[in-house]
């Protein structure tokens, strides 16, 4: 590609990026303004850098905001491990194995993500409350270890189906059973799908408000999205500055996770077949 074309590409991308990022930039800038100025000045130019929102926001709730960040981090880590293990196993079965009722089971698996959570939540809450799991992370984590995130199962199925069967067959000739094929051949080649699962599980769990609100009743257990809502109240003046500041703070880990994780997204298949 000529350097002119490259320069043009960069220009377009930068412009597009600025347009895409304007809301985010505005939020960052607003977090550095005092509350009563945020809506009076819509521009991006800062005439003074005021970081007090960060300090206030950090200490505004019953625990320092770091406590909620840690809660979210623990939850997210558990969910990632759960999804990676259980979804890859289920995906292998659906993509590579031959079994009775495969199509109907697959349809059921997809069906589970078609019901909105608002009607499931009450019976589910009752179920978990009978198990005494309310106010623990269990209702949020255990389902991940049981492959309830059909999104990732389906994602991995599509990836595995993109891998040529010759690899499996070659391994089978060498005497490998399904377990070995799964662990030694399929998993390593699925790295982009696994990385995608990690990134998305991280981000969605980090931002999942509703389930965390319902199942975590003790404010000590609160996670980031629930804590952020505590800054906002429709009937009195909201601490916008603190809310924006803490939103920026919560955005950072996710952003970093993505920045780092995307390196694994790009590790594709280096060679195919022929070992």
């Amino acid at each position: 590609m000529t350097s002119l074309r490259k320069a043009f590409k960069h220009a377009v991308l930068i412009l597009l990026a600025l347009v895409m990022l304007y809301p985010v930039l505005w939020m960052v800038v607003s977090s550095l303004r005092p509350d009563n100025e945020i809506f009076r000045r819509p521009g991006l130019i800062l005439d003074s850098l005021q970081t007090h929102n960060y300090g206030e926001g950090w200490n505004a709730l019953s625990s320092p905001f770091g406590h909620y960040l840690v809660n979210s981090a623990i939850l997210v880590l558990a969910c990632i491990i759960g999804n990676l293990v259980s979804c890859s196993m289920a995906a292998y079965a659906f993509a590579r194995l031959d079994f009775t009722g495969k199509k109907p089971w697959f349809a059921i698996m997809l069906g589970t993500i078609m019901l909105p959570i608002h009607v499931i939540i009450v019976p589910q809450y009752i179920l978990f409350s009978q198990l005494d799991w309310i106010n623990t992370f269990l209702p949020l984590v255990v389902p991940k270890f049981l492959a309830t995130d059909a999104f990732f199962v389906f994602l991995m199925v599509q990836f595995i189906r993109g891998l040529p069967r010759e690899l499996d067959e070659a391994a089978r000739i060498d005497g490998c059973g399904h377990a070995r094929i799964f662990l030694r051949i399929i998993l390593p080649l699925m790295l982009p799908a696994l990385a995608t699962t990690v990134i998305f599980t991280f981000i969605w769990t980090w931002n999942d408000f509703f389930s965390q609100l319902i199942y975590l009743t003790d404010p000590e257990m609160y996670t980031v999205p629930v804590a952020l809502r505590s800054f906002v109240d429709a009937t009195v003046s909201t601490s916008w500055g603190s809310m924006f500041a803490m939103s920026v703070v919560s955005l950072l880990p996710v952003f970093l996770a993505f920045l780092v994780g995307q390196r694994y997204l790009i590790r594709g298949i280096a060679t195919t077949g022929g070992k």
Partner: protein
Amino acid sequence: MSALGELQRMRRGSGGTLGGRRDNKAAFVFLLPWFAGLLLITAGPVVASFVLGFTDYNLIQPPVFNGLDNFTRMLGDARLHHALGVTLVYVVVSVPLQLAAALGLALLLDRGLRGLAFYRSAFYLPSLLGSSVAIAVLWKQIFGAGGLFNQFLALFGVEGPSWIADPDTALSTLIVLNVWTFGAPMVIFLAGLRQIPAMYYEAAATDGAGKWTQFRKITIPLLSPIVFFNLVLQVIHAFQSFTQAFVVSNGTGGPSDSTLFYTLYLYRRGFANFDMGYASALAWLLLVIIAGFTAVNFWAAKFWVVYDD
């Protein structure tokens, strides 16, 4: 035979086998966590919500069986029909736009340029905010009467209305919001592009194929399972869209019900009106609609999706 020719030998269709018995034992082991989840965690609440659809349930007192009343009520519920219409428009317009943006950016950001990590993160960042509390305010800053978009239009002498407060345009702002958060499908496309072996492109180049032919004959077919995946899931996701409408309209689906998504209506009936029986019935109607669209997607797949197995 050329590399391209080999590719053309690949079978078209939805692939896979119909479900014989060969690997039943192995399948059982691999599917054990999923089966356990299905039985222990998913089945109970799902069946309960189905049963609730035939009851009158106000959450405080026990549910009372009311036969098909909820379903006959749906036929005359004008707000429900309106919500369905709003949601359909949203799905049909925003999903293709979003996927097109995602695919376009993924192709641009796949390889061959410096600073790709930065660009990918920049384009992904908006989808991190998509469901946050801050988005309501941010969206007003852009599409409000005095917002950035109108300031931009003012440069051309056009005076824009308040896009979020006008019932005719409020839905469009949510469509834009959905397209703006194309980061997730973009990432999946990126991963998919990376899984296409470079060797295919090299073989095609040695056969004399140009960039456009390579795109048509290699990228599109090999990416098709991923495009299919994104299509199916974004459609499901769009039908269930809740948080953006909730946050931007302050929970009301306004102005004038123009952003009353199906799940928002369902939520209000269930929680604000203590009408959980009807809400459950609505949820199952939605499931049937989504299942229908998904089935059509799967059926149509055999015309354009290519698998290697």
